[in-house]
Subunit: 234 residues, 2 copies
């Protein structure tokens, strides 16, 4: 089977990072096959954002895979544990945050690998970023390297000598650099969603780690964040 | 958190291999947390077998995770592709079989890793076997080694210096050796299910690769396979 255009599976959460990763894959000439997970988040805002972003990026297909990480428990994003809130980025605690979902990126990349193999995709793009999220073990360069090695031996493609390449183009970029690169490539950040704890109307809380890092990133980039924050109303 | 007994997550398909792997984990003193996938198989017989085996093995808990691999397609086990049938083991074709599900063991181990981390499990058991299933890239020793390395860097446990150990005790055993070991440890093989294409009543077809390898294994072990085959009626 020959494909006129190289295909890439893009893990798309609907946040700033994965939306920029999708734009980078697009700019490199790939046909995009977006993959999003509904994994017992406490809100569907992420999935809706991913749908908007996939459409805007001209994805050939967008698959939403439902998995139940609640059955294992263990994270503020899937459990009833309270999402920590702060006023500034400096208040974000060190170490591995309670919002860490065990093995999440391993699970996401494993599905991406299966999807890539089925559709004959040569590349997988993941928007992980070690600078602003260094607390997560599965956002580090050594994790990507280890997953690449796994992909080389785990798949028919790898055994046949054409391993699927795992690309993490944002791995050493700051949030501000990611935002600038996304802007340059035409990402409409008003479509994106980053908040761990949005209001029932879907507004970002403005105070969870993810909101704080996003807002600081836009400030550092000298750009205006186009989304609405609940705190804007106060 | 201290646990009185070491915990192991056991990937349990309900077949001969994973049932024996569970018995080995049990014999080594682990408290068992069984994990089974409902992944768009064309039959639920596997999941029912896994439930019987988990109960018989005295598992502390048995989680059935539903995932939709059909959305990707690409395998006789999830698609409508015909399952190949033969009369003897020698007729099984070389190379990677069409029953290969892309990245299946990578996905299963990724979930097991998340589960293990959540419950504080020190070990994961998987019943892969490179001798009789050498056609599957993700049943080889190098796959297990690569996944172990990934587990070391992907998790909080690994980063904290107590990585979760991935154990594949059957990796270099023949099917006959696995069956003998299972028998020795008290596995009731009448509870297990191996067939890729059972009859509507749940009887094994007797001619798919999995049935052929199982039957040959029992013959080689000099033991009687206690399950019913549709061909027994002819």
């Amino acid at each position: 089977m020959a494909f006129p255009q190289a295909r890439a599976v893009v893990l798309l959460s609907g946040g700033v990072d994965s939306s920029t990763a999708a734009a980078i894959a697009r700019a490199q000439g790939f046909e995009l096959f977006a993959l999003t997970f509904r994994y017992g988040q406490r809100h569907g805002a992420e999935v809706r954002a991913a749908e908007r972003v996939a459409r805007a990026a001209g994805a050939e297909r967008h698959v939403v895979q439902t998995i139940d990480l609640r059955v294992f428990g263990g994270s503020a994003l899937t459990d009833a544990i309270e999402v920590p809130k702060s006023d500034t980025v400096d208040e974000i605690r060190g170490g591995i945050p309670v919002t860490y979902v065990p093995a999440r990126n391993t699970i996401f990349l494993a599905f991406a690998l299966g999807y890539a193999e089925v559709i004959g995709s040569s590349d997988i793009f993941i928007g992980v970023n070690a600078v602003d999220y260094s607390g997560y073990p599965d956002c580090r360069p050594e994790f990507i390297v280890a997953f690449q090695h796994l992909a080389d031996v785990a798949t028919k493609a790898g055994v046949s000598g054409t391993p699927i390449k795992v690309r993490a183009p944002l791995i050493s970029m700051s949030k501000a650099e990611i935002i600038r690169e996304g802007m340059r490539l035409g990402v409409d950040f008003s479509f994106t969603h980053s908040c761990y704890d949005p209001t029932p109307e879907g507004s970002a809380c403005g105070h969870c780690d993810s909101c704080l890092l996003r807002r600081q990133g836009f400030r550092d980039a000298g750009l205006v964040d186009p989304i609405h924050y609940a705190t804007d109303d106060c």
